[in-house]
C-alpha cells in the first residue's frame, strides 16, 4: 500500500471563507466534535460511523483538489508509527502538532522521515491542511519513498530498555502488600507472582501482562510498593492480555514525603454500578461506568481514558482543599491502573493523599497502603 500526503490549501477548512463544495469544512467540523467525544470517552457507535464517513469525504476531496507532496510506503509508515494512532486528516491548525509527532515517531528512519518532514513543511509554509490517503500500490510506484529499516518496538515503549540491574534493585523494595493481605494466602501468592513478573518485565524490557492473574487490589499494592521511598525509578511496559493492547509504560519511583493533615476528607467509590451496595457508604463515584466500559474500546484505551480523566480532577480536588481521598475499589484493572497512574503523577506536586480500600470476601473492607503512606514522612 502507498500513503500519499496531500497539501489541501483551501477546503475550505473551518474558519476559512468560501463555498464548501466538497464538504471539507463540514466534515472537518464533524471530525473535531467526534474526536473530542472519543477523547472524553463519550463517543457512541454512531459517532464512529460518522467519523469514518467524514474522514472519507475529506480524503476524497484531497484527491480532487489537493496537491500530492509525498508518496511513501504505507507499511513502512505504519511500522514506524506502531503503537501510535495515525490520523489521515490534519487541519491547518493541527499540522504543526503532526510535524512534531511524526518527527518523534520517525526518528532514526533516515530518508523516510525526511520525506514526511518535507511534506509537513510544505503544508506549514502554505498554511494548508495535510491529508493522508492510502491507495493500493499499483499507482506508479517509482517515486514511492521506502524505509530500509523498521523500528523494533511500538513508539510508546521505545523508551523502555531491558534493565537487569534495575530489576535486581526491586528485590530490596519494602513489601507493604504483605501487611495488607496478611493471612490471605491467595492474594499473598498472587502478589508474589506479580512481583516476579514485574522483575522479569523490567529485566527484559518486555511487557507485563495485565488482567489474567492479579486482581486490581493486588496490582494496586504491588505498584504501590514501587513508589516507596527506597524504591528505584524506572518504567514497565503494560500489556492488556485480553485485547493484546499495550498502554504507555508505567513510570515508578519514590514519592516525596508529606506531613499528614487530614483536614478535609472525601470518600468515593472507584467506578459506579459495579458495587451498588457501597452506594450508601461513599459520597459518589470517581468514574462513571458508562464512560469507562465503552464497547469497541480496548482496555489500554480504557486505562488511557481513566488517566486523562483523573489528572485534572485530582488537581481540582487539591485546589478545593481536599487533603485525603478515600477510594473504595470496585474492580476493573484498567480503571485502577489509570487512576493510580494519575495519582502517582499528581501527588508529586500537590498536597493530596489517596487511601485505597478493598472489599475482600469475609474480611470486608480492608485498608490498602496510602499514596503516599503516613510513615513515609
Amino acid at each position: 500500500m502507498i500513503a500519499t500526503f496531500w497539501v489541501v490549501e483551501r477546503g475550505p477548512w473551518p474558519g476559512q471563507d468560501g463555498a464548501d463544495v466538497d464538504g471539507v469544512q463540514s466534515a472537518a467540523d464533524i471530525i473535531a466534535v467526534i474526536e473530542r467525544r472519543l477523547f472524553s470517552g463519550e463517543a457512541a457507535a454512531e459517532d464512529r460511523t460518522r467519523y469514518r464517513i467524514a474522514c472519507a469525504t475529506i480524503e476524497r476531496a484531497a484527491r480532487k483538489i489537493g496537491t500530492p507532496v509525498a508518496h511513501v510506503d504505507a507499511t513502512d509508515l505504519l511500522a514506524w508509527f506502531e503503537g501510535q494512532p495515525l490520523r489521515t486528516v490534519h487541519t491547518p491548525t493541527e499540522v504543526a502538532e503532526f510535524a512534531q509527532t511524526s518527527a518523534a515517531a520517525l526518528h532514526g528512519s533516515g530518508g523516510f522521515g525526511k520525506a514526511v518532514a518535507a511534506a509537513t513543511r510544505k503544508a506549514l509554509a502554505a498554511q494548508a491542511g495535510l491529508v493522508i490517503t492510502v491507495e493500493p500500490s499499483y499507482l506508479g510506484s517509482a517515486d514511492v519513498v521506502r524505509s530500509d529499516t523498521r523500528p523494533p518496538r511500538p513508539v510508546a515503549s521505545r523508551v523502555v530498555e531491558a534493565n537487569p540491574e534495575l530489576a535486581e534493585l526491586l528485590d530490596g523494595v519494602e513489601r507493604s502488600a504483605d501487611d495488607v493481605f496478611a493471612s490471605d494466602r491467595w492474594r499473598l501468592r498472587s502478589t508474589q507472582r506479580l512481583r516476579e513478573q514485574i522483575r522479569l518485565a523490567v529485566a527484559t524490557g518486555e511487557p507485563l501482562p495485565i488482567g489474567m492473574q492479579a486482581k486490581h487490589e493486588v496490582l494496586t499494592e504491588a505498584f504501590r510498593e514501587l513508589h516507596h521511598p527506597g524504591a528505584p525509578s524506572g518504567m514497565i511496559r503494560l500489556l492488556y492480555a485480553a485485547h493484546g493492547a499495550e498502554s504507555p509504560p508505567f513510570r515508578f519511583g519514590p514519592l516525596p514525603a508529606r506531613p499528614y493533615r487530614g483536614t478535609k476528607v472525601l470518600s468515593v467509590g472507584l467506578m459506579s454500578i459495579r458495587h451498588t451496595e457501597a452506594d450508601a457508604e461513599v459520597s459518589g463515584y470517581w468514574f462513571r461506568n458508562r464512560l469507562v466500559s465503552v464497547p469497541g474500546r480496548s482496555q489500554a484505551e480504557d486505562e488511557a481514558y481513566c488517566y486523562r480523566d483523573s489528572v485534572p480532577r485530582l488537581h481540582r480536588l487539591a485546589d478545593e482543599g481536599v487533603t485525603d481521598l478515600v477510594v473504595r475499589h470496585t474492580g476493573y484493572e484498567p480503571a485502577a491502573i489509570g487512576f493510580y497512574r494519575a495519582v502517582a503523577e499528581v501527588i508529586r506536586e500537590r498536597d493530596l493523599r489517596v487511601q485505597p480500600q478493598y472489599l475482600i470476601g469475609a474480611r470486608g473492607v480492608v485498608a490498602g497502603t496510602p499514596w503516599p503512606r503516613v510513615a513515609d514522612v
Partner: protein
C-alpha cells in the same frame, strides 16, 4: 486358588459402580444358569467382561437411565426388562437386528447401545439405529470403559441438576464472571448434544472443566458432539485470555450443606480426561496420556486445531506463519471470520493478528484504511466463492445447506508492483462443470468455464478510474476483474478503464456490494473481533 484370585480381581473392576450412591444395582443377582440362557442365543461366547459385570451388578439404573444387564430369573426382582428380554423382543420385531449384538441400553429414537458378541471375546460397545442397523458407531472400546463413562454421564447430569435446583432467583439475573462456574448445554434443534460446566481458573490461568458429557446418537457425524464441545471449551479459554491448558476437576458442595455447588471452590483431586475426548483425540492424531487429568497449552492448541473446521490449505499454511494457532482457530470457530477470509488475511496482510483481533480503531485511520482495503477484497472473494458454490440454486443464502465443491487457490505469487490485494485467485470446479456467476458484466459478456482466474479491485469509482487502466496492463490476462457495485452507478467515469479491459479480453464484473456497505460490514466485524476476548 489362582483362578479364584483372578476372578476377584476381575470383579473388583465393578466395585465403584456397586458403591456409587447415584447408581442402583439389582437386589437379586443372576446365576450361571441365567447366563447360559443368554449364551444359547449366540454363536460366539459372550464376552467375559459382560458376564462378570452382570454377575456382580445384575441390572443398574440411575437418574432416569438404565443399563439392561440380567435379572435373576424366578426371583422377585421387579418387572424390569433385562438384556435377554430386549434381545428376544428385538429379534422378533426387527428382523434385520444383527445376530451378534447383545442390547445394553435402549435410548430414544430407536437407538440401542449393544455389546458385540464376537469370536475375539472383546467387549466392544457400539451404538446402532434400528432403522439403519448396518451402521455401527463405536461407544466404547470395552465394556468397562463404557460403564465408567455411563456413570460419569449420570454424575454430570446430577451435578447440573443440583446446581440448577440450588440457584436462587437473584442468580438468574447475575451475569457470571469468567472465573465463576458456568453450566450450559449445547443443543442442536431439540436435542441436547453436550453438557458443560467450566470456569477460567484465575489462580492457574487455565480452564477447569467439572462436567463434560456428550450425547451419542447415530444421526450425528462421528465425533461431532465431542468436536463441538471441545471447540467451545477451548475457544472460551482463548477468549478468557488464558492458556489452552484444561484441567478436569471435581467440585465441592456448597458450604453449609446446601443443594448447590460452591461457585469458587473445587476439590484438589482431579478426574480423568473423559473417554470420548481420549478416543476423539486419538482418531485426530493427538495423543493424550491415559489416566491424565488434563492437558497443557501446546496440547490444547493441537486439539483446537484438530477441532476447528479449516480447509486443507489453511492447515498447511498455519505452521509457516507466526500467527498464534489459537487466534486463527478461535476466529474461525466462533464464526467471527469465515475460513476463506481468514486465509486471505493470513496470506496477504502485513500484520494478520492486528486484523483478526480487530485492535485498530477507526481514529487510527491510516492503519484502518490499510486493513479495510484488504478486507473489502476478502469480502468480495468470499461473496464470489459463496455464489459460485450455490450458482445452480435459487439463492446464495447460507441457510441452503447443499453446496457444490470448489477449489480456491489464493497462493498465487504477487505480480511485481501489483498490490497484494489484487493477486490473481483461481476458482476451479473439480467436476469440470462450468462456473456460473450472475453478476452484472460492465463490458461484453462472461463465458463460464470450469476454471476462473479473477482479481479484485475493491476501490471507490474515482480511484478505480485513476488506476484501473495501469493495473490492467500490469496484471496480464485474467478471466474476470471484479469491482464493487459502485461502478454500476457511475459507468461514465469508467469508460476508459472498461474499454481498456475489453481490449485485453478481461471481463469486468460488478460485485453485489457497494464499498460503503462493505465498509459498514467491516467495521462491525472488526468490532466483534475486538471484543471477542474478555
Amino acid at each position: 486358588m489362582a483362578e479364584h484370585r483372578q476372578k476377584q480381581q476381575t470383579l473388583s473392576r465393578w466395585q465403584p459402580l456397586t458403591r456409587d450412591r447415584l447408581v442402583r444395582t439389582a437386589r437379586h443377582l443372576p446365576n450361571e444358569q441365567d447366563l447360559a440362557d443368554v449364551q444359547r442365543q449366540f454363536e460366539h461366547p459372550i464376552p467375559d467382561a459382560w458376564k462378570s459385570w452382570v454377575l456382580e451388578c445384575g441390572q443398574v439404573s440411575g437418574f432416569g437411565r438404565a443399563l439392561l444387564g440380567l435379572r435373576a430369573r424366578g426371583r422377585d426382582n421387579g418387572d424390569r426388562e433385562d438384556a435377554l428380554d430386549v434381545l428376544m423382543l428385538l429379534r422378533l420385531t426387527e428382523p434385520t437386528f444383527p445376530r451378534d449384538l447383545l442390547p445394553l441400553e435402549v435410548l430414544p429414537d430407536r437407538q440401542v447401545q449393544c455389546v458385540v458378541v464376537a469370536a475375539d471375546r472383546s467387549s466392544k460397545v457400539v451404538l446402532i439405529d434400528l432403522d439403519r442397523v448396518e451402521l455401527r458407531h463405536e461407544a466404547g472400546v470395552e465394556l468397562a470403559d463404557f460403564v465408567y463413562e455411563w456413570r460419569a454421564d449420570l454424575h454430570a447430569m446430577s451435578s447440573v441438576v443440583s446446581e440448577i435446583a440450588g440457584r436462587t432467583d437473584s442468580d438468574a439475573y447475575t451475569l457470571l464472571r469468567p472465573d465463576e462456574w458456568s453450566t450450559r448445554r449445547l443443543c442442536s434443534q431439540n436435542v441436547i448434544v453436550a453438557l458443560l460446566q467450566t470456569r477460567h481458573n484465575r489462580d492457574s490461568n487455565e480452564r477447569d472443566v467439572a462436567v463434560f458429557a456428550v450425547a451419542h446418537l447415530s444421526a450425528f457425524a462421528p465425533g461431532a458432539p465431542v468436536r463441538w464441545a471441545l471447540t467451545t471449551i477451548l475457544t472460551e479459554s482463548y477468549q478468557a485470555g488464558g492458556s489452552l491448558a484444561v484441567n478436569f476437576v471435581r467440585r465441592s458442595r456448597a458450604r453449609g450443606g446446601g443443594l448447590g455447588y460452591d461457585r469458587q471452590r473445587t476439590e484438589g483431586r482431579g478426574q480423568r480426561i473423559p473417554g470420548p475426548i481420549m478416543r476423539w483425540a486419538k482418531s485426530h492424531g493427538v495423543q493424550l496420556k491415559f489416566g491424565s487429568t488434563g492437558w497443557d497449552h501446546q496440547t490444547g492448541e493441537r486439539l483446537l486445531l484438530a477441532a476447528t473446521l479449516l480447509p486443507d490449505s489453511m492447515r498447511e499454511l498455519l505452521p509457516t506463519t507466526t500467527v498464534p494457532v489459537a487466534t486463527v482457530c478461535a476466529a474461525v470457530a466462533t464464526g467471527a471470520w469465515p475460513a476463506l477470509d481468514t486465509e486471505i488475511v493470513l496470506r496477504w496482510a502485513e500484520d494478520p493478528v492486528r486484523i483478526l483481533t480487530g485492535v485498530v480503531q477507526q481514529d487510527d485511520r491510516v492503519r484502518y484504511l490499510a486493513d479495510q482495503h484488504l478486507l473489502r477484497t476478502a469480502l468480495i472473494l468470499s461473496s464470489l466463492d459463496r455464489h459460485l458454490r450455490k450458482a445452480d440454486q435459487a439463492s446464495a443464502s447460507d441457510e441452503d445447506d447443499t453446496t457444490r465443491s470448489l477449489v480456491v487457490d489464493i497462493r498465487s505469487t504477487q505480480h511485481g508492483s501489483i498490490d497484494v490485494t489484487s493477486t490473481v485467485v483461481t476458482f476451479t470446479s473439480p467436476d469440470g462443470a462450468p462456473l456460473l456467476i450472475g453478476w452484472p458484466v460492465l463490458n461484453g459478456s462472461f463465458t463460464p468455464a470450469p476454471t476462473m482466474r479473477v482479481s479484485v479491485l475493491a476501490l471507490q469509482t474515482d480511484l478505480l478510474a485513476m488506476v484501473g487502466s495501469d493495473y490492467l496492463s500490469a496484471i496480464g490476462p485474467i478471466d474476470a476483474l471484479i469491482v464493487p457495485a459502485d461502478a454500476l452507478a457511475r459507468r461514465r467515469e469508467l469508460t476508459e478503464f472498461v474499454g481498456a479491459a475489453l481490449k485485453t479480453g478481461t471481463c469486468v464484473l460488478a460485485a453485489p456490494d457497494y464499498t460503503t456497505t462493505m465498509d459498514v460490514a467491516i467495521a462491525a466485524r472488526l468490532d466483534q473481533a475486538r471484543m471477542s476476548r474478555q
